[in-house]
Subunit: 356 residues, 2 copies
């Protein structure tokens, strides 16, 4: 086993074994077409040279990379902090590994997502949270590679995996009004990239529509001051609840657009000396792993995050394999999971001002 500093190539092996490059290639890819003795002689030569086929050269001739790209308009460092994304990635991984594909994560490169896409050696993309209004979508789609879009809208001609956001939000709001709540605030998720015009059909707006519909059934209206948007983090949830309080809101219930936000809100509620759900009920969204282990366990709208990832990859692989699946758009259902963080409002009446 000699290291010359230079990586051994197929030619080196061919020379050492006294055969042609073709035979070396066969020895690795189609051993059946070689005389057993020849094959083993070649393997020996390869071993002694430490030869391994160069993956890039191989990709170039085979015109296939064996990896799928996960595309995100945000920095990876940010989204890996989001348990939602981790669960999604787990689903993507499961389906990808099942089919022998590796994963390549793609985020903006020096400010440009399209540039990163151009550099990526993948057979197709799964894009998460890529808005149709993103300035680079057109350029990205021009890559010509198949792409499945998750949690996005306004891309009718593109394969998509979506969630019935409105339905889930509606169920959450209905649950609260059924318990008797009338003073409700919404802690929402603002678009990650404020410079882009928010899509009129964003996740935020779909969930908001669901909340509104659920509350409207008992005549409850949602004024702008009752809707506070921040990022989908725990800290943001805490801060947003505090902001609502400072704005004079005295809700008996909180509709949070993510579990992380809900956790932060619960924290914020306690910091004011109030209790969950005694004084304030909280409903989350997502049903992340820890939701059921919180104290009290979180009532939340479960979405099949992991399944989202799996379905996206399955759909993508169909395209990569040249198939044309009948259902290009798939919408996954939500489930309201009622746990301990919601209860009837205190004395069936809202907190009055002057208590904080």
């Amino acid at each position: 086993l000699v290291h010359t500093g230079r990586r051994a190539t197929i030619t080196d092996v061919a020379d050492k074994a006294g055969v042609s490059k073709t035979s070396v290639s066969f020895a690795f890819n189609k051993p059946d077409r070689l005389h057993p003795d020849t094959a083993s002689r070649i393997r020996d030569a390869a071993e002694s040279l430490g030869y391994r086929p160069h993956p890039v050269a191989r990709m170039l001739t085979q015109r296939r990379t064996g990896t799928i790209g996960v595309l995100t308009p945000q920095a990876l460092a940010v989204i890996f902090d989001n348990p939602f994304f981790s669960a999604f990635s787990a689903g993507v991984s499961a389906a990808a590994e099942e089919s022998g594909y590796a994963l390549h994560f793609i985020s903006p490169l020096r400010g440009s997502l399209a540039r990163a896409v151009g550099r990526a050696t993948v057979d197709g993309f799964v894009a998460i949270g890529l808005s149709a209004a993103h300035p680079e979508v057109e350029e990205i789609r021009r890559s010509g590679l198949p792409m499945v879009v998750v949690d996005s809208t306004g891309m009718a001609d593109q394969p998509t995996i979506d969630l019935d956001d409105q339905d889930g939000a509606h169920a959450a709001a209905e649950h609260l009004v059924a318990l008797g709540h009338r003073e409700v605030i919404v802690l929402g998720i603002e678009a990650p990239e404020p410079e882009h015009e928010p899509s009129p059909d964003s996740i935020m707006s779909r969930r908001l529509a669901g909340y509104r519909a659920g509350l409207a059934s008992v005549g409850v209206h949602l004024p702008p001051e009752s809707i506070i948007a921040g990022s989908a983090t725990i800290e943001s949830g805490r801060v947003c609840f505090r902001r609502a309080w400072e704005l004079g809101r005295r809700p008996t219930a909180i509709l949070a657009m993510s579990d992380a936000i809900a956790i932060g809100a619960m924290r914020g509620v306690r910091e004011l000396g109030l209790s969950v759900p005694g004084d304030v009920s909280v409903v989350g969204f997502d049903d992340i792993d820890v939701a059921q282990y919180l104290d009290p366990p979180l009532t939340t709208v479960r979405q099949p995050v992991r399944l989202k990832g799996e379905e996206a990859v399955r759909l993508l692989l169909a395209f990569i394999n040249g198939e044309t699946p009948p259902d290009i758009h798939r919408t996954l259902a939500t489930t309201l999971i009622v746990r301990g963080s919601t209860a009837v409002p205190p004395r069936a009446a809202p907190l009055t001002n002057g208590r904080g």
Copy 2:
């Protein structure tokens, strides 16, 4: 903009613009060396053909991929469920993106990690949790690519990022004995791949040594029945605590080797009608995001997970860039974070049998 079905190549652009391939290449890579008019004519031709340089072909000549590989001996679907890994990935991403590198996740391909490594088009690896005893380490290292190993041991000749596990565990145990605890159990992490011989210097054994040392200072011994190992998940923590209880252990405190395990253990404690920390104190390990938001907030040993990822990538990039950093082995420190899940034991005496 015409789509012929076949992807446009540099030759197509050269023909259309009436120049050589070289000039087209220059137009994209070294525009300065071209007459402005020529450059813009080439760009127009490229645009109209929808041409984009093929990343694989480019990699082949440049002998550089611009991506770093994250290597894990477990299935990605499993580790993405682990918040610890997410935090680590966030650190890796941050450092990688900072330097314009993309991320490629590599897990065993059809049972073989070495096979997956062989297919990966990366400039180097960050391996997480790769034991020196792994049957394929030798083969992996033979790839010739630089590799930084995180959370592993027995790889003296390999660059490593490690944690002072023993010290952190020691601090946790000392904290408990200082509070007066004498009946303590350990909920550990068993090797992910039971078929491989567990390293005598694994994370598990290092932390165990730390726990033992801390308890020994007051003469407390840790019998085998007081050490229950499972996977690093919430559910496993719950189950392992129950198992200890069924084995007759009546601890006043739990040393958990991960926060996930600690969360599960807290759940298990409550299921028996006991309270945390009133009846049983719990100490975790990691200090994941939600730890501080639990009720009670979790006392835990914080490790700089994110920093681990960042440091690993920085070290790796140094090697990729041909440098030879002086410090090949870096050990990061832990911090004991005392929160509400630990308190003095009930009546300063252990629970007696017969109460469960």
